[in-house]
């Protein structure tokens, strides 16, 4: 049967078809749907682990017991998992172990644009890279085959465009490979003390040699000869773009990007007059081809940054700019992503933006509150960074920083990597207020469960992490729980905690607006009473997408009486968007915002 599948769905399907029964992951765009989709198949175990390092360790354990195990993460997640990654390369896997790295060229939803092909080389782990959903489904199977055959973890690299584009996939029967699950003791292989690791270190090099030989005849590394005047080496999505831009040229299509098939590359280079490497981000393949002494054109014509498309590939190779019609000469206001109407983060950051503190931020929806008009967040580096940074800043500033440094972090992000830095604030005592923006879900990636929601990925009720108790157990003396949609309480508690000596923890708890909608919660939309609104624009300072400004034009003025001579318009609430969080009515001094009756 032919169906349309995203790259992520196809990876999940391929894993299921080849009998994979185990997956561990932490959600992260663009990788999230792989694990979500996989978890729905019959007879599989899939979990959200607290972070990518744990997920990889869980998958390693499963593989050592003989399972075929998947660890799934976005590109920056591999940084978190890097510690076990580099050494599982030494131990090998016993069963099958595939790590999926979903990279994000163009930073659609990430804080950096790192090219994780470098990890394959760095950690000496083979890497496959599919170029559409059909290949994604096939390649995950090949990855598991390679893992078992060569006793190695294997990377499958995706990019946003592969993960989130859909193409036609042929569904196949499930072919359960035999898994022999048992406890095996093999300390020389699995206890990486120096004496054993030195031996395995040599085994890794031998394995890479064997894999290099394998790459030469691997059918997914293939020469497609046409016009020999130009030859293009490409893998993944870059191949799809180049193939579309130059259907007439010859290609060396690489399904395996590490290790590279040096012989095949030499052979192809010998057959064509001019050789190009088309690859997004780093000159990963290009540098290695140059090291072989083969002349090649790459990054001197192609961009280093952002994802490509067929137009970019064509312009780079021909050196001719596309003749595009200019856009109309008007200012097109940007439409950045925004906190949803009714988002509880809005209340917290409305208050924080007015405290004159430095708010060290983290990764999540709330990062968006750095923008106007809230401007309530002042840094974002990586998952969990807020707490350590706030502590460091407070320590460096000393007296001067008292009551001035806040760290904010989401509930899921806190569990991911905020617990150890919070422990550090208690251990080394700084004057910081750490706020957990606890919206009861992993919102940014689309509502995934985590240890504090009380449910697992596969919907089982489980032990629910109690955040206030955890804070106290870590040594935080002052732990407060507030409702960020109550501005008065939020202001008062923030003021008290900022004045306090030593670290404190505020848990700003209110469920994500989308979570409420998903559960079928009733929205009680608010409206602006035009006869009361003075046009002071204070409510606009919340940056709520449901509130807009209507300037007086002739007609509106006839209907509405001006409260002051200077009044220029009124605020309007879109009843379809408003979910009645009441933040605007709390800031409206004239009392113009009321419930719709």
């Amino acid at each position: 049967m032919k169906v349309l599948m995203s790259g992520n769905e196809a990876i999940a399907r391929g894993a299921y078809e080849c009998g994979v029964t185990f997956a561990a992951a932490y959600p992260g765009t663009p990788s999230t749907e792989i694990t979500e989709e996989f978890s729905k198949y019959e007879g599989v175990y899939a979990e959200w682990s607290p972070n990518e390092k744990v997920a990889l360790e869980v998958a390693i354990g499963a593989a050592l017991a003989g399972a075929n195990a998947l660890a799934v993460m976005k590109h920056v997640g591999v940084n978190v998992a890097a510690d076990p990654l580099f050494t599982v390369s030494y131990t090998g896997t016993n069963g099958g172990l595939v790590v999926i790295s979903a990279d994000d060229p163009s930073l659609h939803s990430s804080q950096n644009e790192q090219d994780n092909r470098n990890y394959a080389r760095f950690a000496k782990i083979p890497m496959l890279e599919p170029s559409d959903s059909g290949e994604a489904k096939d390649f995950i199977k090949l990855a598991f085959r390679l893992s078992r055959e060569f006793d190695t973890p294997v990377f499958l690299r995706s990019t946003t465009r592969l993960s989130h584009s859909k193409s036609v996939v042929e569904l196949q029967e499930v072919n359960r490979s035999e898994e022999v699950l048992e406890i095996r003791h093999h300390p020389q292989k699995y206890v990486m003390v120096p004496a054993n690791a030195r031996v395995r270190r040599v085994a890794v090099e031998e394995r890479m040699k064997k894999l290099s030989a394998f790459a030469e005849t691997f059918p997914e590394n293939r020469i497609e000869m046409k016009d020999p005047s130009v030859g293009i080496i490409a893998a993944g999505m870059a191949y799809s773009y180049a193939r579309e831009a130059f259907p007439e040229y010859s290609f060396l299509k690489l399904g395996m990007v590490h290790p590279l098939p040096a012989g095949l590359i030499r052979e192809f280079a010998g057959k064509v007059d001019k050789l190009y490497v088309v690859e997004e981000l780093d000159p990963f393949i290009e540098d290695q081809i140059r090291a072989l002494g083969i002349p090649v054109t790459g990054k001197e014509v192609f961009p280093y940054t952002n994802e490509f498309d067929p137009g970019i590939v064509e312009e780079s190779i021909t050196g001719k700019k596309q003749d595009l019609k200019p856009l109309p000469p008007v200012k097109i206001p940007p439409r950045p992503p925004n906190l949803c109407p009714g988002c509880p983060h809005r209340g917290l950051f409305y208050v924080l933006g007015k405290t004159k503190t430095f708010v060290a931020g983290d990764i999540g929806c709330y990062t968006l509150s750095f923008m106007k008009p809230l401007e309530g967040l002042h840094s974002c580096i990586c998952m969990g960074a807020s707490i350590g940074m706030a502590h460091g800043m407070s320590k460096a500033l000393g007296e001067q920083g008292k009551g001035k440094v806040v760290g904010v972090i989401g509930d899921s992000t806190f569990i991911h990597s905020g617990i150890t830095p919070l422990l550090n604030t208690a251990y080394n005592q700084s004057n910081v207020v750490i706020v957990i923006c606890d919206n009861r879900t992993t919102a940014m990636t689309g509502m995934q469960h985590h240890p504090a929601t009380g449910y697992t990925l596969q919907g089982k009720r489980t032990r629910e992490l109690d955040l206030p108790s955890l804070g106290r157990a870590l040594g935080i003396e002052s732990v407060r729980v507030i409702n960020p949609l109550d501005l008065k309480e939020t202001r008062a508690v923030m003021k008290e905690e900022l004045e306090r000596e030593g670290p404190s923890l505020v848990i700003a708890q209110s469920p994500c607006a989308l979570l409420i909608r998903k559960k079928g919660g009733e929205d009680k939309a608010l409206r602006v009473d035009a006869d009361v609104c003075t046009g002071c624009k204070v409510c606009l300072g919340l940056g709520c997408p449901a509130i807009s400004w209507r300037k007086f034009d002739g007609e509106l003025e006839k209907k509405i009486k001006k409260k002051t001579k200077k009044q220029e318009g009124i605020s309007v609430i879109d009843g379809d968007l408003c979910n009645g969080c009441t933040l605007c009515s709390q800031v409206c001094k004239p009392g113009a915002i009321k419930e719709v009756i």
Partner: protein, 192 residues
């Protein structure tokens, strides 16, 4: 029709049903026996920001992304978004615009102006322009979310895919409760 790869660019604002529309469109194309690839955006880009989906079809499609200057139909769920992606359109391309304004945050705050003459600006540059009051039509039908089905109906007039194929896929896509109204919405768009 399948000699050359065709590209349709659907543009709109998060929450308008752009991705659902491109899913239906792609399913129809598969049903018609052609190859299709589509791209979309998730994650950060969803939160009320711009949403686009490229749908490309033909006998064999490689790239899920269209290049600029190469889109056959720009199907826009919101007026301003039409302007943002107009340079994707080929010379003889067609624009279908839903007559709806959704203000970006800067306009809501009164800091930027929403261009008042979007339709004129598009018409100055493109010959084939259709402006459809799809949001209004959907509300009249009783569910504003059906704007995407109506717009697919409008789009369907410019694709050589039999009506029966569309109906079949629409019936497979929607839950029994809403399938009849969506088919009605589709044909309303197809007649517009």
């Amino acid at each position: 029709m399948a000699d050359r790869v065709r590209s349709i660019l659907i543009a709109g604002v998060g929450g308008q049903g752009v991705l659902k529309a491109s899913d239906i469109l792609s399913a129809v194309i598969i049903e018609a026996g052609l190859d299709v690839k589509k791209s979309e955006v998730h994650g950060m880009a969803q939160r009320g920001g711009c949403v686009t989906s490229h749908v490309r079809y033909g006998t064999r499609v490689y790239s899920p992304l269209a290049r600029k200057g190469n889109v056959d139909v720009l199907l826009s769920f919101e007026k301003l978004e039409t302007l943002r992606y107009l340079d994707y359109l080929r010379d003889e391309g067609r624009v279908i615009i839903n007559d709806l304004e959704v203000y970006p945050p800067s306009v809501n705050m009164g800091e930027a102006e929403y261009p008042g003459n979007v339709i004129d600006l598009v018409m100055e540059r493109v010959h084939a322009v259709e402006v459809i009051k799809a949001s209004e039509m959907a509300s009249n039908l009783g569910d504003p979310r059906m704007v995407n089905t109506i717009l697919l109906g409008v789009l369907s007039r410019h694709m050589e895919i039999p009506r029966g194929t569309w109906d079949k896929v629409l019936r497979q896509t929607f839950a029994p409760k809403v399938v009849e109204q969506n088919i009605e919405a589709f044909h309303l768009g197809r007649k517009e």
